[in-house]
């Protein structure tokens, strides 16, 4: 019975380098803190993205149900939000 020959496979090149290093504790602590902040930032960004996807889905659902936007409501709300923005800018410029 003939045995099937298999071609030796080449090890795939990894895009990452394996590095080992010895670090002083304060440096290691700083690296850990910074990478924790990055993952927190990425988590927040992913959460925000999901929130706005949900909002757009809600808009579509309401439109499918025949709800139409009220242009007057939109104008008044945008005006009120612009006023609040102007107040916020004014407040942030004022000396604390």
């Amino acid at each position: 019975m003939a045995t099937k020959r298999t071609r030796p496979t080449r090890p795939k090149e990894s895009p990452y380098e394996k590095v080992s290093a010895t670090l002083e504790r304060p440096v290691l602590r700083e690296i850990r803190e910074k990478s924790a902040n990055v993952s927190e930032f990425l988590n927040e960004a992913a959460k925000d993205k999901l929130y706005f996807e949900r909002v757009r889905e809600g808009i579509k659902q309401l439109r499918r149900q025949g709800v139409r936007e009220d242009p007057e409501f939109r104008r008044r709300l945008e005006e009120a939000l612009d006023e609040a923005d102007a107040w916020r800018r004014e407040r942030s410029r004022a000396p604390q």
């Binding site: 809600g58 808009i59 309401l62 139409r68 409501f73």
Partner: protein, 141 residues
Amino acid sequence: MKEVLLDTGALIGLQRDRRAFLGLLGSVDRRGIQLRTSPAVLVEFLGGSPRALRSASDWLMSFVEVGTVDEMIGRRAATLMRASLDGSTQASPGAIDALVAAEAERRGCEVVISGDRNDFDALATASGRFKVIDLEDVVAP
């Protein structure tokens, strides 16, 4: 990320007026605003929702992020409530309104959309850190 807080009155108003809610969601999307509220409002709105409107209330609340209540926010809410009661004869904000105001301060939200202008104006004056938009003022008469 800008955030806007909603009180129970605003949530009830938005549930009744779906055109207004569609308009608000449009502004949320365009401006990159997130809707938020206090857990106390969540209890009042969902718990007090009539049986026939429960699923609609749950659906509406799915667009609103909810904060937390701890001792610090409770104490700040009490301070704001006292200052509002002392500063105005017209207003009588309750604990839930005061928790919304304290949550607005904690999150740095500068806008509270309310269904109860008197009470929230008094809380906003006591705080000095947020503005009130009365839903009745923006809903078409």
